[in-house]
C-alpha cells in the first residue's frame, strides 16, 4: 500500500511546510509507502511541524525531482531515507553541498552492508540465486554508498548504530520509530471499545510483511499447543501470513484479517488481549524496531515479544509487557493466562503510559531539535 490521506499533500503544499525563520528539513524517499516512508519520513515531518519551534520539515519523493529544479533552494538540511545511490541522488547531494548544506542518511535496517546480504535475504525468505543475488547485493551496496556519501546517519536503535559505526566514521544518531498524531487520536477513539475475554486469551499476530511467516514459524507449534490446552483462547492473524496447517483444527477460533490501514489497525489491536511478536534470532531481527510494541501499547494491549535487544530495551517484563526466548513461549502464554484479565489490563495501562512518553511525536520533535537543530 502506498497512498494515504495523511501524505497526499500537493507539491506546493509540501513546499509551503518549509518555513522561513526555521531550520528547514527536507526528507526524501523513493516513493510513498506504509512502512519505512511512514515511520522515517512522514512521522518526523508531522512531529516537527506540530511540536518544534526551531525546525520545519516536509517530505518529498523522487518524482518531485522532475519538477523542482533545486530542492536545496527550499531547505537547509536534507534527510535521505533509505535511497540507493544513483544519478538523481548524486545530483541531489551535490546541490545541497554546493550551497554548504548538510545531508543525512536515514536507515532502519541492515540493508547497507553487503556482509549481511545473504543473511537478510534468508531472513526475508528470499531464495536468491545468481542474477537475483547479484541484484540484491548491488542494491545493498548502493544503499551503503549513499550512506557513506552523507554527512551523518540517523537510525532506529543502538544495535544498528553499532553496525553502522563499523562501516563509517560518520556521526550516527539513534532516532527511534514513533507513532504519529493521527495514530494517537485513532488509539484514543479505540480505547472506548474493546473488552478483555473473561476466559482464555485472545491472541493477535500482526504481520507487517511476507518475511514474518518465518518469524511466526518459530513459535507456531507452541501457540498451537497453548490453544489446544486453553479451549477458550483464540488467535487473530492480520496481514500477509498464511495460516499454518496445524491451526486448521481450531476452526473458527482462528480468524484472519487482510493487511489494513494503520489507523484502522488500532481498533483491531484494542480488540485482542495479547499482542504476540515472535522474531527469529539473528542480526536482521535485532535491527528491527519496537513499533509493534508501542502501537499495541497505545490501545493498552500488552505485548509478548521475543527477547531481542530492542524489545529488552523497550519492555520492562511484568510491568509494561512480556519477553520470552523461543523455547519459553508456551510457558509465557500459560503464565499470562493464569494472571487473569485484571493483571493484563494493568500491564496494558502501564505500557500505554510508558510509550506515550517515549514514542510520542513530541518526544520525536524534541530529539530531532537536538540533532538537526544544531546542523544549520
Amino acid at each position: 500500500m502506498t497512498t494515504h490521506a495523511l501524505w497526499s499533500h500537493s507539491l506546493a503544499e509540501r513546499l509551503e511546510m518549509l518555513k522561513s525563520g526555521t531550520t528547514r528539513v527536507a526528507y526524501i524517499a523513493p516513493k510513498p509507502e506504509y512502512g519505512t516512508f511512514r515511520y522515517r519520513c512522514f512521522n518526523p515531518v508531522d512531529a516537527i511541524n506540530r511540536y518544534s519551534t526551531a525546525l520545519s520539515a516536509s517530505y518529498f519523493f523522487y518524482s518531485d525531482l522532475l519538477t523542482l529544479d533545486n530542492l536545496a533552494d527550499y531547505a537547509d538540511i536534507l534527510v535521505v531515507s533509505r535511497c540507493p545511490h544513483d544519478a538523481p541522488l548524486d545530483r541531489l547531494y551535490r546541490r545541497f553541498r554546493n550551497q554548504g548544506k548538510r545531508v543525512f542518511f536515514d536507515i532502519d535496517d541492515l540493508v547497507f552492508d553487503t556482509r549481511y546480504a545473504t543473511l537478510v535475504a534468508s531472513n526475508l525468505g528470499y531464495l536468491l540465486e545468481e542474477e537475483e543475488l547479484n541484484q540484491w547485493t548491488a542494491f545493498i551496496s548502493n544503499i551503503g554508498s549513499a550512506l557513506q556519501a552523507s554527512d551523518g546517519v540517523l537510525t532506529t536503535n543502538a544495535y544498528l548504530a553499532e553496525r553502522i559505526s563499523e562501516t563509517t566514521s560518520l556521526p550516527v544518531f539513534v532516532v527511534p520509530n514513533t507513532f504519529n498524531d493521527a495514530q494517537r487520536k485513532a488509539s484514543d477513539d479505540a480505547l472506548a471499545s474493546g473488552e478483555l475475554q473473561e476466559q482464555g486469551l485472545h491472541l493477535g499476530y500482526f504481520s507487517g510483511s511476507q518475511s514474518h511467516s518465518l518469524d511466526f514459524a518459530i513459535v507456531a507449534r507452541q501457540v498451537a499447543a497453548f490453544l489446544e490446552e486453553s479451549p477458550h483462547s483464540r488467535l487473530t492473524i492480520v496481514g500477509h501470513l498464511e495460516v499454518p496447517a496445524e491451526f486448521a483444527r481450531f476452526g473458527n477460533r482462528i480468524a484472519t484479517r487482510p493487511f489494513m490501514d494503520f489507523l484502522s489497525m488500532q481498533t483491531v489491536l484494542r480488540g485482542i488481549d495479547l499482542n504476540i511478536v515472535p522474531l527469529q534470532d539473528s542480526p536482521f531481527t535485532w535491527s528491527k524496531s519496537e513499533l509493534k510494541y508501542f502501537e499495541a501499547a497505545l490501545v493498552e494491549t500488552p505485548t509478548l515479544a521475543s527477547r531481542t535487544p530492542v524489545f529488552q530495551a523497550a519492555i520492562d517484563p511484568g510491568v509494561t509487557g512480556y519477553l520470552a526466548d523461543s523455547s519459553e513461549w508456551i510457558e509465557a502464554l500459560r503464565h499470562i493466562e493464569s494472571q487473569g484479565s485484571n493483571e493484563l489490563r494493568k500491564i496494558g495501562k502501564q505500557a500505554r503510559a510508558a510509550v506515550l512518553g517515549t514514542y510520542s511525536p513530541e518526544a520525536l520533535a524534541g530529539m530531532l531539535d537536538g540533532i538537526l537543530g544544531k546542523q544549520k
Binding site: S10, L68, A87
Partner: protein, 386 residues
C-alpha cells in the same frame, strides 16, 4: 473498428484493456482524431494504442504523455509494460506525473540547456578542468572550436590541471587540430543521456549561454567559470547563476525537432473550471520565451497553493504539448484556436507575437501580457490579491 479476433480472450490482455478502458486518461475520440490516420483510424483505438501507439510515442489523451512517461522512468522502460497501464496500476499511487513538468519541457525544447548528467567519482591524482561546448559556443564568441579549446588549455595549464572537453553536436570541428594532453569527448544526445564522471575539486568552464545553464548545478559557484571574448579571450568566474533570459529569445536553432506524430490538427479541449490563462507560443521558432513564461507560471503555482483551484492553463500554438505545472495542474494544449474560444479567456500571454490573436483579444476585451520576463504574469494572475 477492429482488433485481431480472440485477442481479448487472454486474461492479461483483458485486464489491461479493461483498466485502460475504464480510465479517464484514454479518450478514444481524441485518439482517433489526433493521433492516427488512414486505416489505423478504423481500428479499436485501445487495441491500436496497446499494439502500436504506445511504442510510437502516441498519447492516449491530452492528459497522458506517453514518451515523457517512458523516458522519465527507467523501470517502465525495462518492464515492457504499456506506459498508461503502468501509470494506472502503479505510477499514480507512487505519485509519478502523467505529464511532463516545465523542467522537462525545457530539456526537450532547449536540449543544450539540460543539466549535464554526472556522477561524483573519487579524486584522481591530477586535478582537472572540464570545458563544455555546444552549437552556440562558436557563434557567441566568433571563435573556432579549436581556438576555444586552445584558450581552455591555457586556462588549465595555468592552474596545473588537465583539460577535458565535452563537445556536444554542433560544437565545431577538431579533426585537424593537434591537442596533446587534452581529452575530448564528442557527446551524443541519447536516451538515457550519457553520463560523465566529475570530481569534488574539478573546475568547469562554460563556453555559451546554453552550456552555462547545463552546468549550473554540478559544482559550487566558486568552481564555475565562463569563457568571455571581446578584444581578447579570457575566463571569468561566475558572479551569479545563469538564467534562461540570458539566451537570445528568437533563436529558433535552439529548438529540437518536433517529435509528436500528429495525424490532424489538435483543437482546444476545454477543462471548464475556474478562470483560464492561455499561453500563445511558437515553441519551435521561439522556445526561450515560451519556457520562460512556463517557468514563471510554475513558480507562481508552487508558491501560491490557492491558484491551482482558481486557474486553468492552456498552451496554444506550434510545437506545444500538454504538461503539468507544479506537479498538479494539468495544462492542455492545442495547435490553433478560433475567435469564439478567445472570448472565454481571462488572461492571454503572448510568448510569440500573433497579430490575429492579439486583434481578437483587443476586440473582445481580453487582457494581454506581452512582457514575459519580470512580474507581468504574476500581476495578471494575482490581481486583486494583497
Amino acid at each position: 473498428m477492429f482488433a485481431p479476433r480472440g485477442w481479448l480472450k487472454r486474461p492479461v490482455a483483458r485486464r489491461i484493456y479493461r483498466t485502460i478502458a475504464s480510465s479517464d486518461l484514454f479518450d478514444a475520440h481524441w485518439y482517433r482524431s489526433t493521433q492516427v490516420s488512414g486505416p489505423s483510424a478504423l481500428m479499436d483505438p485501445i487495441w491500436h494504442y496497446l499494439d502500436h501507439g504506445a511504442s510510437l510515442g502516441l498519447d492516449p489523451s491530452p492528459r497522458f504523455d506517453t514518451s515523457h512517461y517512458v523516458h522519465a522512468h527507467h523501470d517502465v522502460r525495462s518492464s515492457g509494460l504499456n506506459p498508461l497501464f503502468h501509470y494506472l496500476e502503479y505510477g499514480k499511487a507512487e505519485r509519478r506525473s502523467p505529464l511532463r513538468s516545465v523542467l522537462r519541457t525545457r530539456d526537450v525544447l532547449l536540449p543544450e540547456t539540460a543539466e549535464l548528467e554526472t556522477f561524483t567519482s573519487p579524486q584522481t591524482p591530477s586535478p582537472r578542468v572540464t570545458l563544455v561546448t555546444d552549437s552556440r559556443s562558436e557563434i557567441e564568441h566568433s571563435l573556432t572550436l579549436a581556438e576555444i579549446v586552445d584558450s581552455g588549455q591555457k586556462f588549465a595549464q595555468k592552474r596545473a590541471r588537465t583539460l577535458r572537453v565535452i563537445a556536444w553536436p554542433g560544437s565545431g570541428d577538431l579533426s585537424n587540430t593537434a591537442l596533446p594532453g587534452v581529452s575530448v569527448i564528442e557527446a551524443r544526445r541519447s536516451y538515457p543521456a550519457p553520463t560523465f564522471d566529475i570530481h569534488a575539486d574539478e573546475l568547469f568552464v562554460s563556453t555559451s549561454s546554453t552550456s552555462a545553464l547545463s552546468i549550473r548545478h554540478i559544482a559550487p559557484q566558486s568552481h564555475l567559470w565562463k569563457l568571455t571574448s571581446g578584444k581578447t579571450t579570457s575566463h571569468q568566474p561566475w558572479k551569479s547563476p545563469p538564467s534562461l533570459t540570458d539566451l537570445p529569445p528568437q533563436e529558433s536553432s535552439l529548438a529540437r525537432e518536433h517529435r509528436t506524430p500528429s495525424a490532424g490538427r489538435r483543437p482546444l479541449v476545454s477543462e471548464g473550471r475556474g478562470k483560464t490563462v492561455m499561453v500563445f507560443a511558437d515553441a519551435l521558432a521561439n522556445p526561450v520565451n515560451y519556457v520562460v513564461a512556463l517557468e514563471e507560471l510554475d513558480h507562481l503555482f508552487l508558491d501560491n497553493t490557492f491558484l491551482a483551484d482558481q486557474w486553468n492553463v492552456t498552451v496554444v500554438g506550434q510545437g506545444v504539448e500538454p504538461l503539468m505545472l507544479a506537479d498538479e495542474v494539468p495544462v492542455t494544449s492545442a495547435d490553433h484556436i478560433s475567435r469564439t474560444k478567445i472570448a472565454g479567456i481571462d488572461v492571454a500571454i503572448m510568448t510569440t507575437p500573433d497579430p490575429q490573436v492579439e486583434a481578437w483579444c483587443r476586440e473582445l476585451g481580453v487582457p494581454v501580457v506581452a512582457e514575459i520576463s519580470g512580474s507581468a504574469i504574476s500581476s495578471a494572475l494575482l490581481k486583486g490579491r494583497p
